[in-house]
Symmetry: C2
Subunit: 379 residues, 2 copies
Amino acid sequence: MIDKTRLARIALGSVAEPGSKELFQAVQAHGPVEALDRIIRGTGSLGEGVLARLGNGDPWELAARRLEHADRTGMRIVTPEDPEWPPQLEDLKLISREGGDRIARDTFPPQCIWVRGPLTLLAAFERSVAIVGARASTPYGDHIAGDFAFTLAEQGWTVVSGGAFGIDAAAHRGALTAGGVTAAVLACGLDRAYPVAHTGLFDRIADDGLLISEWPPGSMAHKHRFLIRNRVIAALTRGTVMVEASARSGARQTLGRARLLGRRPMVVPGPVTSAMSVGCHEALRVDGFRLVASVAQVLEEVGPIGQLSIPASGPDRLHDALDDLERMLVDALPARGSATAAKLAQIAGVPLRAAAGRLPSLVTRGVLAESEEGYRLPR
Amino acid sequence: MIDKTRLARIALGSVAEPGSKELFQAVQAHGPVEALDRIIRGTGSLGEGVLARLGNGDPWELAARRLEHADRTGMRIVTPEDPEWPPQLEDLKLISREGGDRIARDTFPPQCIWVRGPLTLLAAFERSVAIVGARASTPYGDHIAGDFAFTLAEQGWTVVSGGAFGIDAAAHRGALTAGGVTAAVLACGLDRAYPVAHTGLFDRIADDGLLISEWPPGSMAHKHRFLIRNRVIAALTRGTVMVEASARSGARQTLGRARLLGRRPMVVPGPVTSAMSVGCHEALRVDGFRLVASVAQVLEEVGPIGQLSIPASGPDRLHDALDDLERMLVDALPARGSATAAKLAQIAGVPLRAAAGRLPSLVTRGVLAESEEGYRLPR
């Protein structure tokens, strides 16, 4: 039997633009199910717009079709009620600004997120850094974004970006090259991958990382949606690094969101002779964001992995915190004795580089022990 | 008859290292003449070092020889009693730090300055900006320093630097190319121009601008002298722009001095891939100096010329404020009618580009009027 709350979330995520303040308040007051019913009955200010989107359809049927479509196309839909929902998204309800435009006001958390990829949102974004910047990047910017992403991914950080041309793509590719985890947060349906030229890149990201969107399949990338989407990139990560930005770049808005959310906004400078560094230098001059010139300086901001505050934990808590990939690896362990990373990857049915990237963290957290023969359960 | 105070200043500037706190306090308490006498008699803590420098010589004779040597070699010696002494140097008595090393403590104003060049210190440094940076600069840094200096000089600002290889030289050359004024503040005697390869550059600077030093002829450039000298660059100018600096650059110390003095410290960023930008980025990250990416942004800091506070003035005050070059140009004017810039330069015996660079400012200040036939006295 399908959970009604879940269906309501999916319907709400389909019939209203993400971030809506009215929608969030209705759900907070009445819960998703009754909020949806009220909206359909035309109670409240959201009614008309939503009904226009819905046409004559029944939102419950729409949600059921969405679920079935997701299953069939290798996506899943994650809602705030799911254990893998990243709690840091809830901070988005704190930064809405009255009196601004819709983008400044409708900053609220998503109702649900469409996902492609083997990792849970919770685990993937726990230690994550965003790298964003110009679409029309220069070789300098591509080099920096790729290099920072490679090193961050190599050190176990998830590299988050928006899947666009230029800096975004360089960041995703850098993380992939390191065999690390990268996540693309899109501003369109996952079946409408934009830009189309990145279809192959998105498939690679979805293989080992995460391809996610607040918009249901079929949604097109519109300009204002990038600005709505940026709040999610800022909220999911511990900090956002801007590498190259023209004078009127949307990336700077992501840094502003990050600061409002208490995350770390960071800016990489460049030659003052480059138009693609104008936005970065303005952000440093005017906004006072933090200059970073190396990955080490990024890690100073977001905290090195060794210093993360891991919740005090007994064995159960430890295992509760595992994501899918980690659970598969732990389940692949023999009851007695050890197994190599390659053996574990084979038994778990995951790529070796994904396994090799995650095992050291499991050892650090005490879930596994390491011996000369490989990995084993701790005594 | 030669002024005894003047001779005492010259002697004091010859027998003790510039910036000395003890020397400054002795002069403040007793005046230059008695301070010198006391020092020779070995009263006070300065005695021994000074006597060692002086050998068996008589300081009054030494000073007279210095004056005569300066006259013979085309230098002049300027002391705080001279009208052209830049009053902003007096701020140097405010930034001494006890408990630091000698460089941090001995920050006091010079006793006198050796000068080559046709301009008064007062006029040349009234609207001045320093551009400093790495000796081992890259083409990027040379380009920026040259470009900034060209534009600043073109707009009537004196470009000040230290005469070193790299950024310093690029700044001086940029100002010269614009036909503007540049001043080199050396850390050695003006006859010991360091580096030797810059002998030709220093001659060009002295032709139309200023070559100055606190050290008497014969003094060698020692490493610690560059750090002592930096305080004068910071104090003379309204702001100091650092263009390229390695991790351990002396230029950063100049910015620190500028900030202590209430001047504007500014930093030009560069590619984070360049070792020559490491010092700049550290200065922005750690010291919090102001990032500047263009000359317009430099002028925002130091104030555009149009907004300078010019003292309220009747005709006498106007003419009192003229420097040598300006007075020569004004004196060259016919009593009736007008003269072209070329004619004025010829009569005054100054380079045409120097004249052409200064005449508009004289018009702005109301000293001259401009007509179709050229320049004339205002009615």
